[in-house]
């Protein structure tokens, strides 16, 4: 593995985030939204819609998507990409769940694949 091990920061208990809902994590670089799906996966995106800056944390979560409350853009929680035909991307952060606790990595070089490998290990 060429990448260095990501630094995992403890955020909260999974149950602190409502199912099909979200919580906001304030951060110096800007708010981060944490979303919890129905099957208890947790995803993190910059809390800013690529369209007009709407707070994604305030949107409705469905499947592995969130709908921005301002103008209804749908974004993929897994990638931060807007669903077609809209084009844009919200920054995504790697998340790991361990024993019911949510950990976040702010390291932007971490790719989704590496995170999965780590989580499986």
């Amino acid at each position: 593995m060429t990448l260095s091990e990501p630094i995992w920061l403890h955020v909260c208990d999974v149950d602190a985030i409502p199912r099909l809902g979200s919580r906001v994590l304030p951060h110096a670089s800007g708010d981060i939204a944490l979303f919890r799906t129905e099957d208890d996966n947790v995803f993190a995106l910059r809390d800013k819609c690529p369209h007009k800056g709407g707070a994604l944390s305030q949107g409705i979560v469905h499947g592995e998507k969130v709908t921005c409350p301002l103008h209804g853009w749908n974004l993929e929680l897994t990638t931060g990409e807007a669903c077609a035909p809209d084009v844009g991307c919200a920054q995504r952060f790697a998340v790991r769940i361990d024993a019911g606790e949510v950990y976040l990595s702010l390291d932007e070089t971490v790719s989704g694949k590496v995170v999965e490998a780590t989580a499986a290990a």
């Binding site: 995992w8 920061l9 909260c12 809902g21 906001v24 994590l25 129905e38 305030q58 976040l104």
Partner: protein, 816 residues
């Protein structure tokens, strides 16, 4: 495990549309193989006429380029005609020996032109008008030859004739009937059409029967002879005398055919493994030759191929439009009329305008428009909805534009707009952008236009204009909004279906609803979840549990989100009445929380704008006033005038009436927002004429008006009833609102609900039937009983996490 194999015979619009629908809902279910007799990918056959007329090129009308097939792993056999279906071995075979086994088979072989059985029909220069090859032959012939004869004065024939004329040929149209388009137009409109086509240089031989096509001695056509002995010179003869469903293959395989392959409402043939869609099928005895029905069939068929097993096709109402640039004609339904029908006719031959509307039992059943087809889409909608016309009848002939639209520069005729004119004032979308998106991206429905251009996707006031643009760009390809539109992409069920199911199956949770109704997404979407939430709460009050995660942010947070993600706070101020103590507290809150703007609202209240989410609960606590529900699909406010207490004209205490109504309706959820007004005299200073319920005091009592709207489309409220006492005002108002709460579709305002069911129905349920009125009123009071102020609940600690950010990151944790 091997995936089941789906084989499609026919690479045209119906077959491929079915695949598109299927891939949308079940992308990986089948190994798909497609056979196409033509050497081209799927193209838009409807747009052959613009290609012939030189307005578009072939590349412009390709719907699915070869990449598309590759992307979806579809095995495509081009230029291969299937010659046999072996139902025993479940294999299809081509002339060249190519074989493909199937588990499911879809037949979409379309139709072929009907070739008149006359001598000379096989000569060189005699063609039909069906595919791109025919079109290319016509274009080539027009380059070197002069005389063309088109046999058939129907849609296809006239479009061919027009194209050939534009390509420089002398064109004669031969038609058996005595007027053109006799299946689409009445004789008056048919004659107007003939006149304007003659002005373009086309010649007509009506009531003429072709008896022979004559040889020039070298195997090519020379002339056409009629049964009366006349002859017309011809270098090219186009047969456009109708189409026949292609059933040879199906019949040879032993499938039951009767003027088309006979299919059920699920598009299944007599062999349950074999489906059929498009022009080759006969459904309930009808074979369709236009494209809109094919798309409806495709949707249903795909649903069954995906093994979802819901949705059925019940036939289509057709509309027609001729794709000849500069000629506007439209017809739909039973435009000829007859026994038991009435007609409204507007005829202005000098300016070439003719409109006929056919009405039966107070419903629009047919329309025939010539010269001005602006309202075609609207009439078609009325026709498909089959709604009672009532008072609309008086102005129906004057079109939809007799009701104003906001934000579209007052434009209501798409045809008269320039490409640079703005159609959608919310998102700044011009007409040219929409037309380009329709032609380049192959859009067919209003929903697709909304998605791709954003036009009509915000306030929706330009939806009518967008429909007009769709209709004029696509002609008869246009797939008008179906009568029962699906709630969203998660289901094929309509709002009516879902409402019914929630009641019949006693559904009280989203999970139960998704399971029972077979939702195709795991937990819905931002469109269906709030709708379901409302349907369950309104149908099963005190049983269904409100799901905060299925509410739009405003209703979850109980404040209105603004563009910068702050919120606005509007406390309740019943009837617009306040006092010094409240005003003082509002002023103190504004200071303490640095509220950037304090504004008086249109509903006689005070709005504090720019409140941070985490401050909301403390702001509410400091205000000490209940929620004004200014953010919800709910009761909003009751606007009042000062009434008889102060006003020299006031006849009743309208202020107190307003306060009483607002007290009664406190915390009421509804399909959409609900606004009321009470005025003390007919001067109507509280503007009750544009409210969901407007109450106007007169000396002898109170008049109630319903279904008004001051928003996107200004709608004047209609008179419901006059009552004597204040108690009656509450009972009638409550009963009407409960009827709306129980029966309207989510996001329909009262005006839309009344338009759907008719004012007479509302009067029947609320005014004439006293027992029903009381029952409705009691059900309203029952559902409101026990609801409490949501702000107070949150001050007391409810939903605390909603308003609290997570603690900031502190400790770095080791990886496991």
């Amino acid at each position: 495990m091997r995936k089941p194999r789906l084989v499609v015979i026919g690479n045209g619009m119906a077959g491929i549309r079915t695949l598109e629908e299927l891939l949308e809902i079940a992308p990986h279910q089948y190994d798909i193989t497609v056979f196409g007799a033509e050497p081209h990918p799927n193209y838009n056959r409807i747009l052959l006429s613009p290609v012939l007329a030189g307005e578009q090129a072939f590349a412009d009308i390709v719907l699915n380029p070869l990449d598309w097939y590759a992307q979806h792993d579809i095995t495509l056999h081009l230029g291969k005609e299937v010659t046999q279906i072996d139902r025993t071995r479940r294999v299809v075979r081509c002339a060249d020996g190519t074989e493909a086994p199937y588990d499911r088979l879809l037949i979409a072989t379309g139709s072929s032109p009907f070739i008149l059985p006359v001598p000379g029909k096989d000569l060189n220069g005699v063609i039909s008008y069906r595919d791109i090859r025919d079109t290319e032959i016509m274009i080539e012939t027009a380059r070197v030859k002069r005389h063309a004869v088109v046999i058939g004065g129907g849609l296809l024939g006239l479009e061919a004739a027009n194209g050939l004329k534009l390509r420089g040929m002398e064109v004669t149209v031969v038609h058996l009937a005595d007027t053109l388009l006799e299946r689409q137009l009445d004789s008056t409109a048919g004659k107007l059409l003939q006149k304007s086509l003659e002005a373009r240089g086309l010649a007509f031989r009506l009531s003429h029967q072709t008896s022979a096509i004559l040889d020039d001695g070298h195997g090519s056509v020379r002339a056409v002879r009629f049964s009366n002995g006349d002859e017309v010179a011809a270098d090219l003869v186009v047969m456009a005398a109708g189409i026949r469903p292609n059933t040879t293959l199906a019949e040879a395989a032993g499938l039951y055919c009767s003027r088309g392959i006979v299919v059920s409402d699920t598009l299944q043939t007599y062999d349950p493994r074999i489906y059929a869609v498009g022009e080759c099928v006969s459904h309930r005895g009808v074979a369709y030759g236009l494209v809109a029905p094919l798309f409806e069939q495709a949707k249903v068929c795909a649903n069954h191929l995906a093994l979802m097993g819901i949705g059925s096709y019940r036939g289509s109402v057709l509309s027609t439009k001729l794709k000849v640039t500069g000629i506007d004609l439209f017809s739909a339904g039973d435009f000829l009329g007859g026994e038991g029908t009435e007609e409204i006719v507007l005829s202005d031959p000098a300016s070439g305008v003719y409109k006929k509307l056919v009405i039966r039992d107070d419903k629009l059943v047919g329309a025939c428009l010539y010269g001005d087809t602006t309202d075609g889409a609207w009439y078609f909608k009325l026709l498909r909805e089959g709604r009672a016309l009532g008072e609309l009848r008086e102005r129906i002939m004057f079109g939809e534009s007799s009701v104003g639209d906001a934000g579209t520069q007052g434009q209501n005729r798409a045809s008269s707009m320039a490409d640079t004119d703005e159609v959608c004032g919310c998102n700044g979308v011009c007409k040219g952008t929409i037309v380009r998106a329709i032609t380049e991206k192959g859009l067919f429905t209003l929903d697709e236009v909304k998605k791709h251009t954003k036009a009509a996707s915000s306030c929706g006031s330009c939806a009518g204009l967008c429909e007009q643009i769709l209709m004029s760009t696509l002609g008869s390809t246009y797939d008008a909004t179906p009568k029962e539109k699906a709630v969203c992409g998660c289901t094929d069920l309509s709002h009516a279906d879902v409402r019914r199911a929630v009641r019949e199956h006693h559904l009280t949770t989203h999970r139960a609803a998704f399971n029972v109704l077979g939702w195709r997404t795991p937990n819905g979407c931002a469109t269906c979840r709030p709708a379901l939430n409302y349907y369950m709460l309104s149908t099963w009050p005190k049983e269904a549990v409100d799901d905060p995660q299925s509410r739009f942010v405003n209703e979850r947070v109980h404040a209105n989100i603004q563009k910068d993600n702050t919120f606005s706070v509007i406390p309740q101020m019943k009837g617009g009445v306040t006092n010094a103590s409240e005003l003082r507290r509002i002023a103190d809150v504004a200071d303490k929380y640095h509220i950037p703007m304090v504004k008086v609202t249109g509903g006689q209240r005070i709005d504090l704008l720019g409140v941070k989410k985490e401050d909301l609960v403390s702001v509410w606590r400091d205000l000490g006033m209940p929620s004004g529900h200014a953010y919800g699909k709910s009761i909003r406010t009751v606007k009042t005038c000062v009434g008889s207490e102060f006003c020299r004209f006031g006849t009743q205490n309208s202020t107190q009436m307003g306060i009483d109504l607002e007290t009664m309706l406190a915390n009421m959820w509804s399909p959409h927002k609900v606004k009321l007004a009470v005025s003390g005299c007919p001067r109507n200073c509280a503007e009750g004429g544009i409210k969901d319920v407007g109450v106007i005091a007169v000396d002898s009592g109170w008049e109630l008006y319903v279904g008004g709207n001051g928003g996107i489309k200004t709608e004047v409220a209609q008179f419901l009833v006059k009552v004597k006492t204040a108690e009656e005002v509450k009972e009638y108002t409550g009963a009407f609102l409960q009827l709306y709460r129980e029966e309207a579709y989510y996001l329909d305002r009262t005006v839309h609900y009344i338009a759907r069911v008719g004012l007479d129905y509302v009067k029947q349920r609320v005014v004439n039937d006293a027992a029903n009125r009381r029952a409705l009123y009691e059900r309203l009071l029952f559902s409101l009983d026990g609801l409490t102020d949501p702000w107070q609940a949150r001050i007391d600690g409810a939903q605390a996490n909603e308003y609290r950010p997570l603690p900031a990151l502190g400790v770095a944790t080791e990886t496991a």
